[in-house]
Symmetry: C2
Amino acid sequence: MDEREAQAAIAGHRARIDEIDCRIVELLNDRAALSLEIRRLKPQVHWGLYDPKREEEIFANLSSCNKGPLYGENLREIYSAILHVMKELQG
Amino acid sequence: MDEREAQAAIAGHRARIDEIDCRIVELLNDRAALSLEIRRLKPQVHWGLYDPKREEEIFANLSSCNKGPLYGENLREIYSAILHVMKELQG
């Protein structure tokens, strides 16, 4: 592959990454909407707002569906940020 | 909605969140594979490994496709973790 072909390949991969990111943003927003709805329902079932058991379930689910190349610890780092944001949003 | 119905609704929302998370994991892995391929190609085009302009493009793309309820700053927080992980993976 010459330099021009390598540049074109990088541009193509970046365009695909931008598409993937838009899909991830859409899914994160769907997730946030569900999370807000759960927040609204929680007082009716007399549950606390913070539920460490549910957090363990979330991490177990991530591991069960991970096929790589990301490692479990990579997903843990990303999901720490995602769960932090979801908690902030729930106020 | 009585307490039992609220519990069932929460369980349903959590199952949907688990599905969304598996799809996000799949997309993050696709993104990581593309990122590793770009890393492999970069020496051929004589580009530096860190590209702040590309990072700006990524954040501009996130804003352009965000329809909420997440705020721009929420996505920035999540993507700081995602981009950090991608950089670590590229070694």
